[in-house]
Symmetry: C2
Subunit: 344 residues, 2 copies
């Protein structure tokens, strides 16, 4: 469903008049092109205010399509991360189905850049905003003020006043670590993220819980950034430990990919010397060597839910949808995985 | 530079009048909101025509920013291909520098979907269009008609009436194959694409030329799609040959990544038993195992050139800019590459 102005708090003629510093009558003259003339400079100010506020007088909205951009904004923290690239593609596909285009932007893991991007998309009058925030409590005042619906994606839990979507990070991590335990591992490390946000914390919690339930001590934890190079550095640190773990849970594909490079360079065999399970389950995890057993996020389903929540105009309503990640068995965990099951 | 109406063939008031079926005087009344009143239905028709044609009367353009969307469209064939993901990011970065946003869309290698996407972006009145076409002669009439500047990216050569940007695919392929020859290889195969377009053909030509110059026969050629699974299948076919090549040139990173999986499954060692050089040089090529020696495309430079060409309003002018790909030495070719040179 396309977001419609009916579902937002409508901007009134009075709002426009206040913003432009004119009377409501003058706003009417501009909108209706009469019956009285308006000085060009004043008219320009009113039109600016109409645009800034997203005011949609019935007639003008039809004629000028003011504010009904047919575009939604998507802010991710890294479009070259295969997980977000696949997520963006799924969003784009869902959006295209209801004739919406998607502006994809990257915050590069910077909260201040993210804030700027949100402002910019709001000022472009997008019809809605999907945000994978780097911040647990993103600043979305500008979107709220402009009555632009926002859905938070890649979330661990609800955010007051917003619709949100995400996997159960904690449960997925428990599943991954339980699988390593079932393979007989007793020393299981984790490569985690630097952010300290809830999605990171939940993955750490799931790892710790699975170990606790099995009566196992926590293996080493290395926190690095979510990129490939972070995983590579984490791998070098973990492999240098005197008491090296026999299994590692990496909380993102990119980190697992980096880990694999350091492991190969050290001549360590996966899974014989070191078992690995990754999180995300993007195509890159399938084509690494060895292919990575991973907790796959249901990207297509989450994208659909996010677009639907946007269309429902859920602004102002706290509503979180949780999805389950699926354990995809490949070689890196030690399972006998067939050679010829490959896809995209 | 932001595209400006001055550099395009300007749409005239007469064009609008003709399109709306009114006199030029009526167009003026609408644009200037006077001095005479215009019936609402007529005014709506004129505003539609203004929007359809992208007409920018000086005053109205400033006041309504009709057609000046601040958005450019980017059409790639696969945003999950790391090469295009990095390209899109570079385009977005360049565009942000001049306060433009980017709508990223994927044609999924379909010429008909690409055509639809172009139409849609044109109807959204983007300020410009960057297109990595799946077609050597893309249908861009709609963009031309709307006077929206178009720059073709990922091109092998000039296209009549358009600005375009791309690497010298042929020279880059010669360089890659010459490097394999310098390593002593006499049987060098190629994994190529199914498309048969000029960028594919030029890579095949460069491969054949380097072999011819060295007095070597052409090794086996396998044409598959540009995805990872294509490379995987090509690898299985090449490895099954009785007269297996000792080196393979893969014309994309994704194909090389797929090849590596089939090679590992077969227990073949890279580079000892089989040397590999890839094309694109995306981050994925750096974190495969072994890391891929690759012809790296200068993505940032090409994105900058494409945005500049767009800003120059080069519509209607045939102008192709060629860039050189750089040979990045890693392990897969047989060179002694250091372990610790890793990046993003």
């Amino acid at each position: 469903m396309k977001p419609t102005s009916e579902r937002r708090r409508p901007v009134t003629r009075g709002d426009v008049a206040l913003h432009a510093g004119v009377s409501t009558a003058v706003v009417s003259y501009v909108v209706n092109a009469g019956p009285r003339n308006v000085a060009p400079a004043t008219r320009e100010r009113v039109l600016d205010a109409i645009r800034d506020l997203g005011y949609r007088p019935n007639a003008a909205a039809r004629a000028l399509k003011l504010g009904v951009s047919g575009i939604i904004g998507l802010v991710v923290s890294d479009n070259t991360n295969p997980f977000f690239a696949e997520y963006a593609r799924a969003v784009e596909r869902e959006a295209a189905g209801i004739d919406l285009s998607v502006i994809l932007t990257n915050s590069a893991l910077s909260a201040s850049l993210e804030h700027q991007l949100v402002q910019k998309l709001v000022s472009r009058q997008v019809d809605g905003l999907l945000l994978a925030s780097t911040d647990d409590d993103p600043d979305l005042e500008s979107a709220k003020d402009a009555h632009i619906p926002v859905v938070l994606i890649d979330r661990a839990g609800p955010e007051e006043g917003f619709a949100s979507v995400g996997v159960d990070f904690r449960e997925a991590s428990r599943t991954a670590v339980e699988h390593l335990i079932a393979h007989g591992h007793r020393s299981i490390g984790i490569i985690s993220g630097l952010s300290g946000g809830t999605t990171t914390r939940d993955r750490e919690l799931g790892w710790a819980e699975a170990l606790a339930v099995a009566g196992l001590p926590e293996g080493p934890m290395v926190r690095v950034d979510f990129g490939r190079i972070g995983g590579y550095e984490a791998g070098r640190r973990l492999l240098a430990l005197q008491d090296r773990p026999t299994a590692i849970y990496a909380i993102s594909d990119m980190q697992a990919i980096g880990l694999l490079r350091s492991v190969h360079e050290a001549g360590v065999r996966v899974p014989e010397d070191l078992a690995v399970i990754s999180f995300d389950g993007s195509a890159e995890s399938e084509y690494s060597w060895p292919p990575l057993t991973a907790m796959r996020q249901p990207v297509a389903e989450m994208a659909r839910a996010a677009i639907e929540a946007l269309g429902d105009g859920m602004t102002g309503i706290t509503a979180h949808q949780t999805f389950r990640a699926e354990l995809v068995i490949r070689r890196s965990c030690g399972c006998d995985a067939p050679d010829d099951e490959v896809s995209g």
